[in-house]
Subunit: 319 residues, 2 copies
């Protein structure tokens, strides 16, 4: 049986989760969130996450500078910590590198890692280097979240509004441009994605119910929130934030920019839900309401031209 | 310039370390130990480590069962935590897997991970799955060490005795047998190495000055301790513990078993140093004195047949 026969990576995660045992009462949240949540002290949790970039899966040296690879490796982990409402603090870096790689490549990769570590005040405290056929950059990160600010995928409540932190679809539009050798402003959004740590910290202080970062397209992310929270969702196609550049660049590709937003990945924007009484405070930030949480029995729907369509899952490995 | 031109992985680590900045006063020890040490509470530190297994570098599917790969991935991280005097507690698992891999392979890999997690009471709290050409298993682990038990590489003092926790060279002897298609008992030592967590916990309570786990051969490990502690060392060839199986199997390979012990890797035994007044207490455990710490000016020497030889470095990636 192949992984695609059990629903790709998400089916595999469910399967793995069912076989895992926990041996500690200090695990507040394990598999199934952007980061694990562990007891720390009276007021704070430890957040623990990892993300891996694999050559020719997550990046190609045809498009990416080594510095951009390093930057992205840090940003995607920061985005996981941000999505939990926390602050990143420590990281360890595992590199697998081809035997004949230049030292200058590693220098530049670390320039990218160090630039982002400086931005977020993350201390690189260790790592591991080995050789391989293709480049692998795996970062594990520890962060902290105040108990009152911790935000999981599973907290969404019926009648919550669903928010999106900013333009989505930009990264996958950029990737398609690169693949088709077409110029456009979206390319930089793909090569240099930025997590929304600052915004996340502000909105968790307002008080929100659930959150996730957009790594596989907002359709997948909303389905994750609904599945963990045991609710349904309705989102509105005409509310989904698309930048002018995404629209222009999707047109060059003869594609619907909405599809990139729904089913593309790696935007590192945030999708979150909050009760309507928080709307005024949240609206002070540059965020958009894209739908609402409904009873589970209504499923997860996209409202488009007054029709309700089933939300599909976005990017999946092993499909 | 290639990595081999700057001394392989160890030269690269020095280069990376020189460019890293720390942004937290809570980093007690960073790059250059088996695990990073972070402040936790009044009496305890957090330990944070990672290790990666790459197909055809660290294992071949010709020799390894998926279960053995999972077991080894956990053991090598536990060994890092053990070498710091701590206890492992939480792990996250990153997998990169070829697209056409069978679900049964992943099941068996996780059987190995879960078996070892149960043994050591480690909770798997998260992870990441992606695809790749070759299998990569990267585990990051969090553990804890009581402040009084924390043991670094850098604590060795002149006149300390150097101890080894058990038979070394067994894993690399087994690997050579596999490569030459020769049978022998060392093979299982290579495929199923065991960390020495229990022993480590006992000896740190006696009080030792420095410790490291044997992942690249004891020559390398002693050089790491000496470099971090700014001391020299003298070890005695006839004191280095070799099992009967290692001697028998090395003979089949027409190799000197001592070379496997000095320059082979992945035994996951412990090398540690302690003052002579601890000898009586330490001798209650099944460990061996293999040498002594001396002034840095005497270098790191192997005494063999009354001759003093320079200790070379063991296994190095990118050489």
């Amino acid at each position: 049986m192949k992984i695609k026969d059990i629903g790709g990576e998400f089916g595999l995660i469910v399967r793995i989760k069912s076989k895992i045992k926990l041996y500690s009462k200090d695990v507040v949240a394990g598999i199934g969130n952007d980061a694990a949540v562990l007891n720390y002290d009276k007021n704070n949790y430890i957040l623990f996450t990892t993300d891996m970039l694999v050559e020719n899966v997550h990046f190609s040296l045809k498009y990416y500078s080594p510095q951009q690879i390093g930057m992205k490796a840090v940003e995607q982990n920061v985005s996981d910590i941000a999505a939990m409402g926390g602050i990143p603090k420590f990281a360890i870096v595992s590199l697998a590198l081809p035997n004949d790689i230049d030292v200058e490549f590693v220098d530049k990769l670390y320039n990218g890692i160090n630039e982002k570590s400086k931005k977020y005040k993350i201390s690189i405290v260790g790592g591991n280097i080995t050789h391989s056929k293709e480049i692998v950059v795996s970062i594990a990160m520890i962060g902290f979240a105040e108990k009152k600010n911790l935000t999981l995928r599973k907290g969404a409540k019926i009648n919550d509004l669903i928010f999106c932190s900013g333009d989505v679809g930009k990264s996958s539009t950029g990737l398609e441009l690169l693949k088709h050798n077409i110029a456009g402003n979206s390319i930089k959004k793909h090569l240099e994605p930025k997590s929304r740590l600052d915004l996340a910290r502000k909105i968790v202080k307002v008080g929100i119910n659930s959150m996730i970062d957009v790594s596989d397209g907002i359709a997948s992310e909303i389905k994750h929130i609904c599945s963990e929270s045991k609710v349904g969702a309705r989102i509105y196609a005409d509310k989904i934030p698309l930048s002018k550049n995404t629209i222009i660049d999707a047109k060059k590709l003869h594609k619907n920019p909405l599809d990139f937003a729904l089913y593309g990945g790696e935007d590192f924007e945030l999708v979150f839900t909050a009760p309507i009484n928080k709307l005024k405070q949240l609206k002070k930030h540059d965020i958009v309401v894209i739908g609402e949480i409904v009873n589970k029995k209504y499923g997860t729907k996209l409202v488009k031209n007054n029709r309700k369509l089933e939300l599909k899952i976005g990017f999946v490995h092993f499909k």
